[in-house]
Symmetry: C2
Subunit: 237 residues, 2 copies
Amino acid sequence: MSDRTRPIPTVAIAVDLAVLTVRDGSLQVLLVERGIEPWRGLQALPGGFLDDEEEDLDTAAARELAEETGLDLDQVHLEQMRTYGTPGRDPRGRVVAVCYLAFIPDLPSPHAGGDAQAAAWVPAQTVLEPGTRLAFDHKRIVADAVERARSKIEYTTLATRFCPPEFTVAELRQVYEIVWGEPLDQRNFHRKITGAEGVLVPTGEQTTRQGGRPAGLFRAGPVTTLHPAMLRPTRAW
Amino acid sequence: MSDRTRPIPTVAIAVDLAVLTVRDGSLQVLLVERGIEPWRGLQALPGGFLDDEEEDLDTAAARELAEETGLDLDQVHLEQMRTYGTPGRDPRGRVVAVCYLAFIPDLPSPHAGGDAQAAAWVPAQTVLEPGTRLAFDHKRIVADAVERARSKIEYTTLATRFCPPEFTVAELRQVYEIVWGEPLDQRNFHRKITGAEGVLVPTGEQTTRQGGRPAGLFRAGPVTTLHPAMLRPTRAW
DNA sequence: CCAAAAGTGTTGTCCCTACACCCATGC
DNA sequence: GCATGGGTGTAGGGACAACACTTTTGG
């Protein structure tokens, strides 16, 4: 804290969301089309300025996530990711953006936007292609979010947050394969994830929605850290 | 970003530092005594308000670290940790603090403070005791910093940042033992850390400063991620 | 010679990869 | 029966914990 006596400069605080889901075989991020300048017409992360003197950052993020997706905190994972404050990132003035990362399941109902313009799910891979442009520094934020997601599912059970309330082992494995972009051995995955205590709770039900032999259905268990960790397939070190 | 037309509320941004080092056999954090209200006379993390319209957050953190310790970025590790913005955390008004985590070696020369009042190294354990009070929510921030440090040295080579430029394997091991608060097997540690490619570079020199058989001296190598990871001794899962 | 600290060997266990193989459904 | 996907078995290798042991200094 400064001990100087000159006035304290103020800046605007934005709370932005990188909302990720897995749908249609790819990792996708929620983007809204900007209705005003700057970057009018370009896509951006949903978010807003911190507008209530009494609202916590985490609360603001949760409120905005609910506005965009209709989901509350029981159903999603929401965590603070990083704060971006490079001068010039917003041409209107000094804006510091506190960014949150959310994992949500593939919504069967279309997300009714709050005050958002047209909201759309866009594959992360598409967003990160060289030709794609987003408003502000949001492309870089998406890159950070994807990297964080890839890393987090290694040692936590957060991959289950991309699944519906009840899911099969194969569905969970597909989440891993899609987020990492690499195939996993179905048999070793099954043994490992079902062998980890407290991660999966069998419902006793079965489903044949994927064809073939019926698969057991599971719910996410109480454990949040994955031990032993689920390691990505060997890369060059 | 808000698409509303009412004025954008502004708040003050503080950039605060949790500077950690290992000295006198304990993990310690740099605290300064506050010269003004609020919490005049209490200890707080060093930091200051973002005071230059053209200064990046990372740059501001690096500048403040240099002011407090005299060290530049070549010698330390500095990373953004988390942003704290709970209403009421500063009685003067809405202040959002972007907190950075720094790892620095035990300075042989006393840190000449910039505009800081009396600066002091305080063992983290002392800070986190129930009876200790810090200004603002800085006690919680110290707790987050310690936990982050304990976790980071598992899978990165950042423990070397707590060591002088040249150090022995035993000195590095003591860093781990102090940060984790648990003893490690000297023999397994030696094998593992010297076996990891690119982590340690032998200088060819030896030292007997710890008594006994001379130990080889090393410098930190180019690799930043530790593979395989250095795992903490087994806790109850 | 003895204490102290550095560094090497060994052994059993766990986990991981890689496969082969059987099971239960729809058609 | 046959295709499709679910679930189990097994063998080899790497990493790890827990040890004993040798090496090299100072006193």
